[in-house]
Every structure is written in structure tokens, then in C-alpha cells.
């Protein structure tokens, strides 16, 4: 046992003497949480619109003011002829152009309906969709007010009361704190372990370790021990940031939360060990961790894009992405405050994955011993 602790100490020294890596290790989660909190957002705020007003009367001015004063839009340009439309879109800064037809006010009084056209740069379909629904919302409101206030027309009106459960203000933090945790813990642990083990192989020091009286299990356990503690600290930092800076609630049991985090880390570690047993050198280990983990964890876990909207083969594929289960767990515990009864299935899946990766690694590792 004493030998084992000596070995663990060696590993810690290895990590701590590389100050730059250490800095990155703790800088990364902080930077990522801050970026997701403040930068990556789909919210529409002061989106730049152009107005092509062929009528230029009191009503079109009023409607334009109403749209601009909503806070969602900012009037960036006035267009005077048809040719400018295409040019405006091609320059790329403006994503929406409002076109009022000639004699707008007159038509509103007499013929009806008066038409307003919304032209959208739909290269980003999602953004175009949002802009369109915000703008038509404002215009329909205006249109409805004319009916009710000016003309006093009765008619059946269905009022809609919406309640946003669990997240009243539609904050993004509920998505990105669990997502960031899943991503960072996975990458840091899996990448660090796989690389540090392959490094020993590549530089030939692995053989030295193997002939030492330490058992192979002890070698692996000793190698991953520092990473477990570092990753766990990382997880706590992310949770604290989410809680203190972004008001992420913790409705459930915090011990359960930390326990599940630890389980996820151990799972990522065993994945890292597995990667190291199949990679001949650090470069390969890195590319495998990078490609097999970075984009799939980001895209298939439900972190950014909801899994339910994906085509079924991808939904099926997402079942082997560990991050997916971890994100479900975290959301359940933190936001909904549900207990273990609601999440035992996900816990079991993570546990099974850990065992599978460990089993495979032990099998591969023994082969190398001969």
C-alpha cells in the first residue's frame, strides 16, 4: 500500500509541475461557463432590420416605431429601391427587411387588408424563424388593436395564458450548466488519462512501471487517481459558478448530485483508459478522444440540440453517448428536484458503461503484459 501511495504522489508531481496545463485545466470550465452564460444565446436583442417603406404615411411610421421600440429590433437602414434589397442581404449585416406596400394607410381604411411583407435572410433558418415570429407577433397585435379599440368589434377571443414550468424566465443557464459539466468532465478526464498513459508507453517508461512490484490494477488506479480529484474539483467549480453567478437552483439533494458527478467522472476515466489501451501513441489517443468525444458529446447529448427532434437513427445513436444520461440526471436533480427514484435507470446505464470500459481495458492491458 505504501508503494501505491508513492506512485500516486509521483503522478501528482507530474501534473503539478506542468503549470500551463494546470492553468488551462481550471481556466477552461470557467471560460466555457462564462461564454455560454453571456455569449452563446439565441435571444433576439436589437436585431438589425431594414425598412423599405413604399408608402411613407403616418401608419407605416407608427408601425415601424412600434417594431423598433419593442427592444427586439434596431432600425439599421432605410431602403429606397428594389435593387438595394439583394445588396443589403449580401453584405450580411441585416437579416430582415420590412416592405410596406404603396398606399398602406389608405388600404387600411378602405380595401383591406393592407399588406406588409417581411423578407428574411433564411441562411440561418432558425434565426429567420424567430425574427419572423417576433415581427408578425407585433404586427398582429397592432392589427388586433385597431379592431378592438377603434372599431369596437365584438367577437369571440380566446386568451392564452402560458406558464413556463421549471424555468420561468427561459434562462439558458438550465441548459448550459449541465451541458458544460458533461462536456468538460468528459474531455478533461478521458483525454488526460488516455494521453498520460500512452505517454508512458511512447516514452518507454511503461515497461519500467510494469516490471515494478506494483500490480497492473494498482498502476492504473494510481495513474487515474489525480485525474479523479482534478475533474471532481472542476465539476464543483462549474456548479458553484452556475449557482453563484447565474442563479442556477439546486432543488434536489446535493450529495446525490455530487455522487452522480463522481460516477460520471469514473465512467469517463475508464473510457480514457480504454482509449489508451488501443492507441499506439499520444497523437492517436488525442485524435480519438477529440473526434470520438468532442463533437458527439456536444451535438448528440441534448446539450445544444434536443434529442427528440433528431431523426431516429441518431436518437438511437445517442443512447450510447454517456453525456446524455448525465445531463438528464443533473437536470432532474438540480431543476426538478426529483429523487433517486426518478433517475435510477440513468445511474444504472452509467454504471454499466463504466464496467464495460473497465472490463475491455483490463483485457487489453493484460495482453500487453505478455
Amino acid at each position: 500500500m505504501k508503494r501505491f501511495w508513492g506512485f500516486v504522489r509521483k503522478e501528482f508531481i507530474h501534473i503539478f509541475r506542468d503549470k500551463r496545463t494546470l492553468l488551462i485545466l481550471f481556466g477552461m470550465p470557467v471560460a466555457q461557463v462564462l461564454i455560454f452564460g453571456y455569449v452563446v444565446t439565441n435571444e433576439i436583442k436589437e436585431a438589425r432590420v431594414a425598412v423599405y417603406d413604399k408608402s411613407k404615411d403616418a401608419i407605416t411610421r407608427e408601425l415601424t416605431d412600434k417594431i423598433v421600440s419593442s427592444g427586439y429590433f434596431k432600425l439599421a437602414k432605410r431602403i429606397e429601391n428594389d435593387r438595394q434589397i439583394e445588396q443589403t442581404f449580401r453584405e450580411g449585416e441585416i437579416k430582415e427587411i420590412l416592405v410596406f406596400e404603396p398606399r398602406f394607410a389608405e388600404k387600411l381604411q378602405n380595401e383591406r387588408p393592407a399588406k406588409v411583407q417581411i423578407l428574411l435572410d433564411a441562411t440561418d433558418a432558425n434565426m429567420a424563424n424567430l425574427l419572423q415570429s417576433y415581427t408578425s407577433g407585433i404586427i398582429s397585435d397592432y392589427s388586433g388593436n385597431i379592431r378592438v379599440e377603434q372599431e369596437k368589434l365584438p367577437g369571440p377571443v380566446i386568451r392564452i395564458h402560458s406558464r413556463m414550468l421549471f424555468n420561468n424566465e427561459l434562462k439558458g443557464v438550465y441548459m448550459f450548466v449541465p451541458g458544460t459539466m458533461a462536456l468538460i468532465l468528459m474531455l478533461v478526464t478521458a483525454m488526460m488519462t488516455s494521453i498520460s498513459i500512452t505517454r508512458e508507453k511512447e516514452t518507454g517508461t511503461m515497461e519500467v512501471l510494469l516490471v515494478s512490484p506494483l500490480k497492473s490494477m494498482q498502476i492504473i488506479a494510481g495513474k487515474v487517481m489525480p485525474y479523479v480529484s482534478l475533474a471532481f474539483l472542476n465539476g464543483v467549480v462549474i456548479l458553484a459558478l452556475g449557482y453563484l453567478v447565474f442563479d442556477m437552483p439546486v432543488h434536489g439533494n446535493i450529495l446525490l448530485l455530487l455522487g452522480e458527478t463522481l460516477l460520471y467522472i469514473v465512467m469517463a476515466l475508464s473510457l480514457g483508459i480504454f482509449i489508451s489501451t488501443v492507441s499506439p501513441n499520444q497523437q492517436v489517443a488525442m485524435f480519438v478522444s477529440m473526434f470520438a468525444l468532442l463533437l458527439p458529446t456536444m451535438l448528440l447529448s441534448g446539450f445544444i440540440f434536443p434529442v427528440e427532434n433528431m431523426p431516429w437513427p441518431l436518437q438511437w445513436l445517442s443512447t450510447i453517448i454517456p453525456a446524455k444520461y448525465f445531463i438528464i440526471l443533473i437536470k432532474n436533480i438540480m431543476i426538478k428536484g426529483t429523487g433517486f427514484l426518478f433517475i435510477w435507470k440513468e445511474t444504472l446505464v452509467l454504471l454499466l458503461m463504466t464496467l464495460v470500459f473497465l472490463g475491455l481495458s483490463i483485457k487489453n492491458f493484460k495482453v500487453r503484459l505478455e
Binding site: R20, N42, G92, V157, S162, M164, M175, E308
Partner: protein
């Protein structure tokens, strides 16, 4: 010239003979492109709807039918029991509960107004916003419908003072994939070129082979050109092949000039390669260079506007993006491919990147010493 050619030859042999690296550089990224583009969608489909209809009148049933008819909704269950709905919401088996109160039709007829309630699982704020917008649209349309039906005297037009028509330019089918393919391509080309360069010289350092090169009469610039050119070629090849796949499989339009796109990409890659080389020169181990590179890359990718438009980012983020090379290409590749923007529309980005490339390459050359 001849010396550079020999270094190039050496590098290519080293890359091509590595049977594990080769598929990782070529096949893995492209397979990812094919698979992951399908995952990247904000389209709401299969919204699981739970209806608590306490009115059970002709009107309330008609309203529910409208939801059923919409391709976005999936009617999970219909009952009077709100508790059960809450439970389903808690288990993520329902996204939305529509509650129609008792006396809905009666109030609508006599008092001309009645309410319905939407309870939305809003943990994903984005999706919740969309669910609300879709649902409101369906209810408003139904409202419009009964407005005309119940008041036969009025013409349809009189009830609509202003009509909104909209058209989606460049992408009338609202296909999100053609937006994501160029984005993911940029990421993949960047990962490949940045990591390969960043690890290259550190690797030679770690293995000790750098000293052998240092004692040869190879000049500094020859060495650096020889080191960078292979990765430039690989990344361009990757981009070309990825574009071809995108064109054939995802119908990504190529409206603008490909020559312009590739010209711009070469300048972009010079920035990235210079950056990678710089990191490689100042790092001591592969593990270290990898983590440093990884950090910058993740920050740059997230801020580049791949998932969310840079326009909705705060002012300071846009200022930070001035030094984010990925943001330039992310914007320009989509402009050229999807909208056919020409050089006049992108000259600002082009010249900024040119200056950037110059800076990053000189930084790398300046820091590189032929002494170990």
C-alpha cells in the same frame, strides 16, 4: 527550393505511412460531418402534447383537432386529470399541457372571451419559446376561424386590417442543414490543421529528432514552409471533399465563387497554421500543447457563431471576435456558399485575415530557434 521539396517529401511520408493516423485525418472527420449535421437541428418536431379538456364541448374538441392536425404535435394523451399531466411533465414524457377549462365554449359564446392555459416544460428555454409560438399560432388561427364562422355578417378581410406576408430568402424550405454543413466543415478543417501543426514540432522535440534537423544546413524559412505546407494541403483537401459531400448529400447550394472561397480559406489556414506552430514552439510536451490548443479552440469555436449568430452576442464578445479567426471564416463561407456574396462584400474580412496571417506567421518564425 529543392530543400523545401525534400522536407515536404519527408513530412508526407511520415503522415502517409502512419496507418492509424490516416483514417483519423480523412475518414473520421467526414463521417462526423455526415452524421452530425443531421443532429444539429432546432426544428421542433414531435412536441409531446397532453390535453386536459375539462369542457368536452364541440368547440374544445375542434381546437384539439387543430393541434392533432399539425405535424409538430404528438397527442400523448387526453383526459381531465391535470395531476397526471404534471407527472408526465416531470418524467419528460410530455412537453406541453393544454388545459381547457370547464365552461370554455359557454363563456366564449356569451362573454365573447375565454381562456386556455399552456403549461410548458421550459428547462430548454429555446424550445419552450418555440413551443409557445407554435401553439399560440394554432390557437390564433382557430380564433380567426371561429371569428368568421360565428359572425357571418363580416367578410374575412374586414377582420384583418393588416396582413403579414413573409418570404424566406436563399433558403425557402428553411433547411437548417445547409447552414450547419459549412459550419461543421470549418470546425473539422480547423481541428485537423491546428492540432496536426501544434503537435508536430513538440513531437519532434519529445522524440529528440528536432536536434537532428537543427544541425542540418536547412534554413529556418525552408523548415517552416516544409512543416506547414502538408497540413495546408490536407486541410484544403478536406474542405473540398467535405463540400462535395455536402453538395451531393445535403444539397448545399454553392452560389458564389469557389475560387474566392478557397482563396479566403488559404489565408485563414495560414493564420491557423501560424498559430499552431507558435504554440508548438513554445510548448514542452504533447500533453501541454494539446491542452493549450484545445482551450483556445473551444473558446474560438463557441464564439464563432456556429450555433448561434454573432449578431445576438453582446458588444464585447463581438470585439473579442476581432481576434477570433474562426469567426471570420464561419461568416464568409456561409455568405459565399449560400448567398453568393462577392469579393466586394467580404473585402474587409479578407484584408483583416491577411494582416492576421502575417502576424501569426511572423510570431511563429520569430519564436522558433534552431537551438534546442
Amino acid at each position: 527550393m529543392k530543400t523545401i521539396f525534400f522536407i515536404l517529401q519527408k513530412e508526407f511520408i511520415q503522415i502517409l505511412r502512419n496507418r492509424t493516423m490516416l483514417p483519423m485525418i480523412i475518414i473520421l472527420p467526414l463521417a462526423q460531418l455526415l452524421i452530425l449535421v443531421n443532429a444539429a437541428t432546432f426544428d421542433m418536431k414531435n412536441i409531446d402534447l397532453y390535453v386536459a379538456d375539462k369542457d368536452l364541448s364541440a368547440t374544445s374538441r375542434q381546437l384539439v383537432t387543430k393541434f392533432e392536425a399539425s405535424p409538430f404535435y404528438n397527442l400523448e394523451k387526453r383526459s381531465f386529470n391535470l395531476e397526471e399531466g404534471h407527472d408526465l411533465l416531470l418524467r419528460d414524457e410530455a412537453d406541453l399541457i393544454l388545459t381547457i377549462p370547464q365552461g370554455f365554449e359557454h363563456e366564449l359564446r356569451t362573454e365573447h372571451q375565454a381562456s386556455v392555459q399552456l403549461l410548458i416544460n421550459a428547462i430548454n428555454g429555446n424550445a419552450a419559446g418555440l413551443i409557445q409560438a407554435y401553439s399560440s399560432r394554432i390557437i390564433s388561427e382557430y380564433n380567426q376561424h371561429i371569428l368568421v364562422e360565428w359572425a357571418p355578417g363580416q367578410s374575412q378581410n374586414a377582420s384583418r386590417p393588416v396582413e403579414v406576408v413573409y418570404s424566406y430568402w436563399y433558403n425557402p424550405e428553411m433547411n437548417y442543414k445547409i447552414y450547419m454543413v459549412p459550419g461543421i466543415l470549418v470546425i473539422l478543417a480547423t481541428i485537423i490543421s491546428l492540432f496536426l501543426t501544434a503537435m508536430n514540432i513538440v513531437r519532434e522535440k519529445e522524440m529528440g529528432t528536432i536536434e537532428q534537423i537543427n544541425v542540418t544546413p536547412i534554413r529556418k524559412h525552408q523548415f517552416i514552409i516544409g512543416k506547414l505546407l502538408p497540413f495546408l494541403i490536407i486541410a484544403l483537401f478536406e474542405l473540398a471533399f467535405g463540400l462535395l459531400l455536402g453538395r451531393l448529400i445535403f444539397d448545399v447550394p454553392i452560389v458564389g465563387s469557389l475560387a474566392l472561397l478557397f482563396g479566403f480559406t488559404v489565408v485563414y489556414l495560414l493564420v491557423i497554421l501560424g498559430f499552431g506552430l507558435f504554440l508548438s514552439v513554445i510548448s514542452e510536451s504533447q500533453q501541454q500543447v494539446m491542452f493549450v490548443t484545445f482551450f483556445f479552440m473551444l473558446v474560438f469555436i463557441l464564439m464563432s457563431g456556429i450555433f448561434t449568430p454573432t449578431e445576438s452576442m453582446p458588444e464585447w464578445a463581438n470585439r473579442v471576435n476581432v481576434i477570433n479567426p474562426i469567426a471570420y471564416l464561419m461568416k464568409v463561407i456561409r455568405m459565399i456558399l449560400l448567398k453568393g456574396s462577392g469579393f466586394l462584400d467580404i473585402w474587409k474580412e479578407f484584408y483583416s485575415l491577411c494582416i492576421y496571417a502575417l502576424l501569426s506567421l511572423s510570431l511563429a518564425v520569430w519564436r522558433y530557434r534552431k537551438t534546442a
